[in-house]
């Protein structure tokens, strides 16, 4: 009988864990979520990072705990990373470079009347 059992801080005693210890990689079973935070009313949500969570509800709570500890936000969106379709960086040439020499697409070639503000 071990009447005196010393627990060091942070140690989780093996005999309390019960069952078999699941591989440390089990966290990789949780899908990745992308997190978007709106910092103030009226502004838009901005991507702030990603995290692991078992479901959407947990993702919101994890995001709250990880990304809004210092009053960064008033609203959170999460979306599972697999639902995001990204453009292929290898196609950057054909996608973006044709715009480089078409400066006339910027609205700086129009003479605006002085009365028109906020352009």
């Amino acid at each position: 009988m071990d009447f005196i059992r010393k627990y060091y801080y942070g140690d989780i005693p093996e005999d309390k864990t019960g069952g078999t210890i699941i591989s440390k990689d089990s966290k990789s079973d949780w899908p990745l979520w992308e997190v978007f935070i709106r910092s103030k009313q009226g502004l838009d949500h901005k991507h702030v990072g990603s995290l692991h969570a078992a479901d959407a509800q947990m993702a919101i709570e994890n995001a709250r705990d990880v990304y809004t500890r210092r009053m960064e936000g008033v609203s959170i969106w999460v979306v599972e990373s697999k639902y995001i379709t990204a453009s292929n960086p290898e196609e950057a040439g054909e996608l973006y470079e044709p715009a480089v020499d078409k400066i006339y697409r910027h609205p700086t070639f129009y003479d605006l009347p002085d009365e028109v503000n906020h352009m």
Binding site: G10, K16, G18, G19, K27, N62, V66
Partner: protein
């Protein structure tokens, strides 16, 4: 009466401090980074509450006590926290269940406390209630997730219930200094049971059929603790004991 108020305030402070200290043991050891942060956030919330209560208790005592002396220089028998909060972390299931059982109680308690005749206690309760509302939500969802999860997680919850249930009765047994506090523990007990039933039902867990028959441990509120508190205080108070008055 004033003595009762001081003791009651210390009891509230000790509850928060000891549970905060316990949760902080997870820092760097959480099952995943996100939960490591979540549980230590809760830890910091609780220690913040404890500070408010200790500061108020120190001002009531007006004998040179400070929030630090009340936390770092009290002996085991002077601590008035309930037994539930000093129980070991065990596995994640046990930590989660302890948090749920206690947050459920604290949530209902602070709801009453925020309209307390003592302005200061009412103000601390009102400020803390938002934090506790989140603790309750967070821990409820984890109880459901583990209870209604895999066979392994379900069994661990059952084990945690077996381990901790006997410390829940004390929450509703008023200590002498609590009797004049104006807090209606029977109302809290009803609400507490209701919430436990709802969450356990979702979690496919069954609360032990207490019915007045289950034996409940008590004594923490009067300073009679389980053997665990001594170890907690040894760690918590080490610096101030070894280097009295040290600051950094």
């Amino acid at each position: 009466m004033n003595n009762d108020l001081i003791n009651y305030t210390l009891h509230l402070a000790d509850n928060s401090l000891i549970l905060g200290q316990r949760n902080s043991e997870w820092c760097g050891h959480g099952p995943i980074l996100e939960q490591d942060i979540a549980i230590t956030n809760i830890s910091l919330d609780l220690i913040g509450q404890a500070r408010n209560f200790y500061q108020y208790a120190a001002s009531l005592k007006a004998d040179g006590s400070t929030e630090d002396s009340l936390a770092y220089l009290k002996t085991e028998r002077e601590y008035k926290n309930c037994l539930l909060v000093e129980q070991p972390n065990g596995d994640w299931a046990q930590t989660i269940l302890r948090q749920f059982l206690f947050s459920n109680y604290q949530y209902l308690l602070y709801q009453q406390l925020q309209s307390h005749k003592d302005d200061q206690l009412a103000a601390i309760a009102e400020k803390s209630l938002k934090e506790v509302t989140y603790h309750l939500r967070w821990s409820s969802e984890w109880v459901i997730r583990l209870g209604d999860g895999t066979e392994e997680s379900h069994n661990r919850m059952l084990k945690a219930i077996d381990e901790l249930w006997r410390y829940t009765g004390e929450l509703f047994m008023p200590a002498d200094y609590e009797k004049e506090s104006g807090i209606e523990l029977t109302v809290i007990k009803d609400g507490w049971n209701k919430k436990v039933n709802i969450v356990f039902d979702d979690a496919t867990l069954i609360p032990p059929s207490g019915g007045g028959g289950a034996f409940m441990q008590s004594g923490g509120k009067q300073g009679k603790h389980t053997e665990h508190l001594g170890y907690i205080l040894t760690e918590l108070q080490y610096m101030q004991r070894a280097y009295p008055g040290c600051e950094w």
